[in-house]
C-alpha cells in the first residue's frame, strides 16, 4: 500500500512538472529547429504573460476577468515575440556567428524585459487566481484542479502544435525553413514571414505556460528563470533535433525530478540532475534522445 502511494505521488507530481516543462521547452525547441538560434528571452516571455494576465484579470489589477486576461495576454505575447525577433535577432541573420551573437542579444532582451517588469510591477509577490478552483484526487494523490488542468491541457496544446506544423500550409513552411532556409527561399517560401510567425508562436506558448503556472507558483520578475534553466536541461537531454524528443525529455525530466525530490530531498535534487547531465553528455554528446545535429 505504502509502495503504491509513493509511486502514485512520484508519478503524479512528475507528470505535473513534466507538463509545464513540455509547454515551455516546446516553444524553445520550435525556434531552435526553425531559426537555429537559442532564445534566452523565452523564460521572461513566460513571466510577461503571467503579469499581463494578472493585470487584466485579477482584482489587484483591472479585474476584467479571465477571458479578457487570456485575450490580452495572447495579443501582448504575440507582439512581444515579434518585437524580439525584429530587434535582437533579425539584424544578425546574415552574420557568420549568429548563434553566439543571438545568445548574447536574447540574453540582453531577457535582462531588459525582466528589469522592465520589475520597474512596472514592482518586486511584490503576486498570484493569479486559478482558472479552475478546487482539488482533484488523482490515483491516490490529491493535487489542485489547476494542476490537473495542466496535465490535460499540455498534451492537447502540443498535439495541436504538432497538427499545425505537419498539416497546415504555414506549419509545413516552418518545417521546410527549418530543414533548409535557402532551399525554401528558392521555391518561393517567404522565409522572413515564417521566422516572425515562429517567434510569435513560441512566445505564445511561453505566455500560456506563464498563465498556467502563475496560479500554482508566486509571481516575481524572476518567475521565468527557473523554467528557462529546466528547459535548457531538457533540450540537452532531448537533443535539439526534434520537437518530439524535446517533449519526451520534458516528461522524463519531470519524473526524474519528482523521484529525486522524493528520495534525496529538494536540496540535493538540482545538483544530482546536473551530475546526471554531465554523465549523459560524456557518453552521448548529442543528448540522450537526440540525433547528431551537426
Amino acid at each position: 500500500m505504502i509502495m503504491v502511494d509513493m509511486l502514485s505521488a512520484i508519478l503524479v507530481s512528475g507528470i505535473v512538472l513534466g507538463s509545464g516543462y513540455a509547454l515551455m521547452a516546446s516553444g524553445l525547441s520550435l525556434v531552435w529547429t526553425t531559426l537555429g538560434i537559442f532564445n534566452f528571452a523565452h523564460g521572461v516571455l513566460m513571466t510577461l504573460g503571467a503579469y499581463v494576465a494578472w493585470t487584466i484579470s485579477s482584482g489587484g489589477g483591472l479585474g476584467l476577468g479571465l477571458a479578457a486576461g487570456v485575450a490580452v495576454t495572447v495579443a501582448a505575447l504575440i507582439g512581444a515575440g515579434i518585437l524580439i525577433e525584429r530587434v535582437v535577432v533579425r539584424p544578425f541573420y546574415d552574420h557568420r556567428d549568429i548563434l553566439l551573437i543571438t545568445v548574447m542579444t536574447t540574453l540582453a532582451a531577457m535582462i531588459f524585459l525582466q528589469n522592465g517588469i520589475q520597474l512596472i510591477w514592482g518586486a511584490r509577490l503576486k498570484q493569479l487566481a486559478p482558472i479552475v478552483p478546487g482539488t482533484v484526487q488523482l490515483w491516490r494523490t490529491t493535487i489542485s484542479a489547476q494542476e490537473t488542468l495542466m496535465i490535460v491541457l499540455a498534451p492537447i496544446v502540443l498535439a495541436a502544435l504538432w497538427l499545425f506544423l505537419s498539416r497546415s500550409r504555414i506549419g509545413r513552411g516552418i518545417k521546410a525553413v527549418g530543414q533548409n532556409a535557402d532551399a525554401a527561399r528558392l521555391i518561393g517560401i517567404d522565409v522572413s514571414r515564417l521566422f516572425i510567425i515562429t517567434f510569435a508562436l513560441s512566445a505564445l506558448l511561453a505566455g500560456l505556460t506563464g498563465v498556467l503556472l502563475g496560479s500554482v507558483r508566486l509571481l516575481t520578475p524572476e518567475f521565468g528563470s527557473e523554467p528557462l534553466v529546466k528547459a535548457l536541461i531538457i533540450v540537452i537531454f532531448g537533443g535539439l533535433g526534434s520537437l518530439g524528443g524535446t517533449i519526451a525529455a520534458a516528461y522524463l525530466l519531470g519524473i526524474i525530478e519528482a523521484t529525486l525530490t522524493f528520495f534525496i530531498g529538494i536540496y540535493w535534487t538540482p545538483s544530482m540532475i546536473f551530475l546526471l547531465l554531465i554523465v549523459v553528455l560524456l557518453f552521448r554528446p548529442q543528448g540522450l534522445l537526440g540525433k547528431v545535429v551537426r
Binding site: W32, T33, G36, I37, F38, V87, V88, P91, F92, R96, D97, I98, L99, L100, I101, V103, M104, T105, L107, A108, A109, M110, I111, F112, Q114, N115, G116, Q118, L119, G178, Q179, S225, V229, L232, I233, V235, I236, L240, I266, Y267, W268, P270, S271, I273, F274, L277, I278, L281, L282, P285, V293, R294
Partner: protein
C-alpha cells in the same frame, strides 16, 4: 613596428603609474570603492576574454566561476578559519577545479551544447549555494567574512587605501599574466583552434587539453578576483549568479572588444563608474541593467569589434576579430567537414 611597440610600453607604464597615484588625489572613500569594484570586474572581464575571445569557447559559466571563488574563499576563511590571503588562493583553485569539471563534457561538444551546458552549470551552482543554506547562508547570503590583513596595518581604518592598492596590484598581475599567456605558444594554439578546429588537430594541437587549460587558467583569475571581492565586501550573496551580473560583465567584454585583454579591463573601468552612477539615481536600479542590455545590443549591432577598436592604434591585436571571422556554427547548416 618597434616604435609602435615602445609607444605601447610607455603608455602602459604611464597608466600603471596613474593607477598608483589615483588614491593620492581621490580621497573620497566611495570613489575609491568604485575603483576597487571596477578593478575586480576588470579581472573578471579580462579573464573571460581568454576563453570567450581567444579560445573561442562559448563559455557562459564564467560568472559561476567567479561565484565559486567568492564562496570558496568566504567559506574557508570564515568556517575553516583559513588565513584570508590563503583563502583567496583557494578561491582561485576552487574556481579552476569547477572549470575542470565543466570542461570534462564541453571540450568534446560543439557550439550550442557548450552554451547550454555552461549556462546550466551556472544555474546549478546557484542552486547548490541556495540549497545548502546551513553552510552558505542561502538566499540570506554569507556574512561576517574575515578580511585580509598585514602585520601592523589596519585595512578598515585607512579610507580603503589598502584595499585600493591590493585590488590594483591584483589587476595588474592578472593583466600581465593573461597577456603573457595569450602571447605564448599556448595562446597561439588556442587562437589556432578557434580559427580552425580540424586544421589545428591536423597540426598536432591536442584540442581537449588546450581547451581544458584555457578554461582552468581563465577560471583561476576570476576565482582569485572573487576571493578578493568577498574579503573586501565581507559578505557574499547568491545574487552574484544572476543573469544580470553575467550580462554586465559580458557587456564589458563586448564594449572593450574580444581578443585583446586590455579592452575588457578599460571597459570594466568605464562601465563600472557608469553603471554605479546610474544606480545612484533614485528608483533607477532596474534602469541601469536595462541600459546595460541596450548597450550590449547596440555594440553588437554597430561595433562588433568593441568600442576600443574605434580608438586609433587600438590596443587589441591587429588581427581580424572572432565575432567577424568565425565560421558559421549553426546546427543544421551545411557546415560539415569537407
Amino acid at each position: 613596428m618597434d616604435a609602435l611597440h615602445n609607444g605601447k610600453t610607455w603608455l602602459i607604464a604611464l597608466l600603471v603609474i596613474t593607477g598608483l597615484l589615483v588614491p593620492i588625489f581621490v580621497e573620497d572613500t566611495y570613489l575609491r570603492h568604485l575603483f576597487i569594484i571596477a578593478f575586480v570586474y576588470g579581472m573578471v572581464a579580462a579573464s573571460w576574454d581568454l576563453t570567450l575571445g581567444y579560445a573561442g569557447i562559448f563559455n557562459f559559466a564564467h560568472i559561476a566561476f567567479f561565484g565559486v571563488g567568492i564562496y570558496a574563499t568566504g567559506l574557508t576563511a570564515k568556517v575553516l578559519g583559513v588565513d584570508p590571503w590563503m583563502a583567496m588562493l583557494i578561491g582561485g583553485l576552487a574556481a579552476s577545479a569547477a572549470a575542470a569539471i565543466v570542461a570534462l563534457p564541453i571540450v568534446r561538444l560543439k557550439g550550442v551544447y557548450v552554451i547550454l551546458v555552461t549556462f546550466a552549470f551556472s544555474q546549478l551552482v546557484l542552486q547548490v549555494v541556495i540549497s545548502q543554506s546551513s553552510i552558505t547562508g542561502g538566499t540570506q547570503g554569507l556574512v561576517r567574512v574575515p578580511t585580509i590583513w598585514l602585520p601592523g596595518y589596519n585595512f578598515l581604518r585607512d579610507y580603503k587605501l589598502g584595499y585600493y592598492y591590493v585590488a590594483f596590484g591584483l589587476l595588474v598581475a592578472t593583466t600581465v599574466c593573461l597577456r603573457c599567456l595569450v602571447r605564448s605558444d599556448f595562446g597561439l594554439s588556442i587562437k589556432a583552434l578557434r580559427d580552425s578546429e580540424d586544421y589545428g588537430v591536423s597540426r598536432g594541437i591536442p584540442i581537449a587539453r588546450q581547451r581544458l587549460k584555457a578554461l582552468v587558467a581563465s577560471a583561476f583569475f576570476t576565482g582569485m578576483a572573487g576571493g578578493f571581492y568577498v574579503l573586501y565586501l565581507r559578505v557574499a550573496s547568491p545574487e552574484i549568479f544572476d543573469f544580470s551580473t553575467a550580462s554586465l560583465v559580458l557587456s564589458m567584454v563586448l564594449v572593450g572588444g574580444t581578443s585583446s585583454i586590455y579592452g575588457p579591463v578599460f571597459a570594466a573601468l568605464v562601465l563600472t563608474f557608469m553603471s554605479e552612477g546610474l544606480a545612484n539615481i533614485d528608483n533607477f536600479a532596474e534602469g541601469r541593467f536595462m541600459i546595460v542590455a541596450v548597450t550590449m545590443v547596440v555594440v553588437l549591432l554597430f561595433f562588433p569589434k568593441g568600442l576600443a577598436s574605434m580608438l586609433p592604434n587600438g590596443f587589441g591585436e591587429k588581427t581580424p576579430e572572432i565575432l567577424l571571422h568565425r565560421k558559421r556554427r549553426i546546427a543544421g547548416s551545411t557546415d560539415h567537414a569537407e
